[in-house]
Amino acid sequence: MTIFRDISETRELVDSFTRPAQSLFPVARLREDAAGENARWANMVEMGWLAIGLPEGSGGVGLTLLEEALAAQTFGRHLLSSNYPATVLAADASLRSGWQDLAASLLDGSRRAALARRSADEGTIVVFDAEPGDVLVVITSSGVDMFDAAAIAAHDSVHWASEVSLAKRAKPLLSVASPDLAAKAQLIVAGMLAGIASECRDRAVEYAKVREQFGQPIGAFQAVKHHCANMAITAHAARELVSFAALSLVEQAPESEHLAMAALNLALRAARDNAGLNIQIHGGMGFSDECDAHLFLKAARILNAAVGGIDSTRQSLMASVQ
C-alpha cells in the first residue's frame, strides 16, 4: 500500500464504529453528572475503544493506528477524559514489556490509567483526571513511562489537575522507549485535540445561525462569519494532518515521526484557537458555566499540559532537522 491513497472508506468505518459515543458520552454529562464519569468507563471496554490498534490475540480489535487516530477525533468531540489516551498507551506499553496481567486488567476495565507529567527536577508529578488505583502514564519524547499511583489522593474535579509528591528519583514501574509508541501517543492526543477543534467549529457555526442581533443571525455579519471560516480551516488542517501522519506511520513512510510531532503541534494550536473562538462567538452565554464552551477550552489545556506544552513540540520539530 501507499500513503497516496484515499482514506474516505476508513473514515466511514471508524465513524460507524464510534457513533455510539453520541449517546454514551454526550458532552452535557460533564455538567449534569460529573461523578458518573467512572461508571461510564465500562462502555469504553465494551465498545472495544481502548484496544482499537492492538492485535486480536492480545484482546485488541486488530485495526491500525490510522483507525485509532480517527477514532480519537470522535472521542475528542465528546470530551472523553484524558484517561482514554492514558489507558490505551498503558495497555500498549504493558504488552510491549511483557506485562500481560497489567495489560489485561487495563483492557477489561478493572484498572484505569491517568496521564501525568513529571517536574523538571523529577521531584513532583502532576496528574490529570486521576483516581486512586490508576496507573500513571507519562508521555516522554521517546515513548512512555508508567508509575504506580498508590500514593495519589482522590481529587474533586473531572477536568482539572492535581500535583502530588513523588519520591525523589522514583523509578518508573516500566519504561518503554520506542519511536512508534511515542508517535502513537502524539497522534492519539493530537486526534482528540483535532476532534475538539472540529466540535468547537460546529457548535460556533450552529450558534451563529440561530442567535440574532440587529435583526439578523450573527453569522450573517462578516466579522463572525470570518471567525467561523477560520475555525473551519483550522479544524480541517488538524483533521487532515493527524490522519495523514497516522497513515504515514502505518505505511512506515520515512518522515512519519516528523509528521506525528507536526500533527501534535498543529492540533494543540487548533484546539486552543477554536475553543477560544467558540467562547467568543457564544458571547456572554459563552462565558457562563452552564454553556459547554468552556469545557472544550479546559480539556484542550489539560491535554496541552499532559504532553509538555506547545513549546516542547516546537523544540522537537526543530531538533528533527538539525
Binding site: M1, T2, I3, F4, R5, D6, I7, S8, V205, A208, K209, G215, Q216, P217, G219, A220, F221, Q222, K225, H226, C228, A229, N230, A232, I233, H236, A237, A238, E240, L241, S243, F244, A245, E251, H258, L259, M261, A262, A263, N265, L266, R269, D311, T313, R314, Q315, L317, M318, V321
Partner: protein, 375 residues
C-alpha cells in the same frame, strides 16, 4: 496502485527531471518568458511528462492522482521551473475547461496545442469594476449573425502580452444582470481591435495586463464554450478547478521551500516560528493530497476553498519568515527567484482569484451554510 510501481514511477520521473531540467531559471515576463515556457512545455511533452492526468484521448496519459503527486514531488525536489508561469492558464484552466465543456472540434484543435507547448493562454475575467465581484462584469458581446462583436475592457490578465488565446468571460445578453447572460469565449489575441497594455507588479515583472476590446469579432461556432448565456457555469468549472488540484504543484513546492528554510535555520529566535510553519506546511500537504485523492473519482469537495486560502496565507508567512531568517542583503534574497521576490509576489496570493475576505465569505456561506448578510 501498488507502492512498488509507484516507486518505479518515482525513479523514472526523478531520472528524467535530473537530465532535462533547464540549467537557467525562468525569465519572469516578456517574450523571453514565452520562449522559455514553451520550450520547457515542449520538452516535457516530448518526454511523455505533459498532461499526466489528462485523458489519453486528449493527448494525456490518464495516470492516477497518486502518480501526479509523485511527479510534482520530484519536480519540486529537482528545482524544475515553477508552474506558476505563462503556461499555467492553458494547462490548468483553459485546457480542463475545454475538456469539460468544449465541442469535439474545439478539443481537437486546442488541447494538443496546449499540451505540446505551441501556445500560451491568458485569462480575461476581471474588469476595473469587477474584481472579487466577478458577476458585475460589463464587457459586452453583441451577437451579429454567426459572430460575436466584443467591446470593453479586462484587467489583471497575466501574460496577455505574450498570449495566443484568451479565455474570456463577457456579457452577451444586454438585458441581463449578475450571473445570467454571460458567455465564455476562446478569443485569439491577434484579432483586430485588441490592445494590450502590460502593468508592472509591485514585485517587479510586468506580467499582468489591461486588455481593451474595440469591436473585436469572433466566430460563435469556434469560440463559444458551454453555450451562449451559460458562461457563469463554464467559468465555475474553471474556478473550482483552480481552487482544487490545479494548485497541487504550487502547494508541494511551498512545502519544499519551508523544509529548506528549516534546514537552513541556525537562528534560535526564528526557530519557534519556523517550527509552527513546518507543521502548517505538513498540514497543507496532508490537505492537498487528501483533497486531490478523494476528488479522483468524483467532483471536488467544498474544502478546496479552505485549502486555497490556507496555502495563500502560508505562502505569505513563509516568505516573510525567510526575509527575517536570511536577512536583507543576503544572497538568498537576491535574484529573479530569490526570497525578496517571493516575499513581494506572495502579496498577490490573498488577492488573486478572489480576495481572502471573499474566500472567507464563500467558506462561511457555501461550506458552513451561514446566512448571507443583508445588502
Amino acid at each position: 496502485m501498488p507502492s512498488d510501481d509507484l516507486a518505479q514511477f518515482r525513479a523514472e520521473a526523478r531520472s528524467w527531471l535530473h537530465a532535462n531540467t533547464p540549467a537557467h531559471s525562468a525569465p519572469l515576463d516578456g517574450p523571453d518568458s514565452r520562449t522559455f515556457v514553451l520550450d520547457w512545455q515542449r520538452c516535457m511533452y516530448e518526454g511523455g511528462w505533459a498532461g499526466l492526468t489528462w485523458p489519453s484521448e486528449y493527448g494525456g496519459r490518464s495516470l492516477s492522482v497518486a502518480q501526479q503527486i509523485v511527479w510534482f514531488e520530484e519536480y519540486a525536489r529537482c528545482g524544475a521551473p515553477s508552474t506558476h508561469n505563462a503556461s499555467f492558464v492553458g494547462i490548468n484552466h483553459a485546457g480542463p475547461t475545454i475538456i469539460a465543456c468544449g465541442s469535439v472540434e474545439q478539443k481537437a484543435f486546442h488541447l494538443p496545442k496546449i499540451l505540446s507547448g505551441e501556445v500560451i493562454w491568458c485569462q480575461g475575467f476581471s474588469e476595473p469594476g469587477a474584481g472579487s465581484d466577478l458577476a458585475s462584469l460589463r464587457t459586452k458581446g453583441r451577437i451579429e449573425g454567426d459572430e460575436i462583436v466584443i467591446d470593453g475592457q479586462k484587467i489583471w490578465s497575466s501574460y496577455a502580452d505574450i498570449g495566443d488565446y484568451q479565455e474570456l468571460l463577457i456579457r452577451t445578453d444586454p438585458e441581463s444582470t449578475r450571473h445570467k447572460g454571460l458567455t465564455w469565449l476562446i478569443c485569439p489575441m491577434d484579432l483586430p481591435g485588441i490592445t494590450v497594455r502590460p502593468i508592472k507588479t509591485m514585485a517587479g515583472p510586468a506580467k499582468f495586463c489591461e486588455v481593451f476590446y474595440d469591436q473585436v469579432r469572433v466566430p460563435i461556432r469556434e469560440s463559444v464554450v458551454g453555450g451562449i448565456g451559460e458562461g457563469w457555469k463554464t467559468a465555475m468549472a474553471t474556478l473550482s478547478f483552480e481552487r482544487g488540484t490545479a494548485s497541487l504543484a504550487l502547494q508541494i513546492s511551498l512545502v519544499g521551500k519551508v523544509e529548506q528554510l528549516a534546514a537552513d535555520c541556525i537562528d534560535p529566535f526564528v526557530a519557534p516560528r519556523l517550527a509552527d510553519l513546518r507543521a502548517d506546511a505538513a498540514a497543507l500537504k496532508a490537505m492537498s493530497y487528501s483533497f486531490a485523492l478523494s476528488s479522483e473519482h468524483g467532483t471536488p469537495g467544498a474544502e478546496g476553498s479552505l485549502i486555497r486560502l490556507y496555502f495563500a496565507e502560508l505562502a505569505k508567512r513563509a516568505s516573510d519568515l525567510a526575509v527575517d531568517l536570511y536577512g536583507i542583503g543576503s544572497p538568498e534574497l537576491a535574484g529573479e527567484h530569490g526570497w525578496a521576490f517571493e516575499f513581494l509576489d506572495a502579496y498577490s496570493e490573498t488577492i488573486a482569484g478572489g480576495t481572502a475576505e471573499i474566500q472567507r465569505n464563500i467558506i462561511g456561506e457555501r461550506v458552513l451554510g451561514l446566512p448571507r448578510g443583508k445588502a
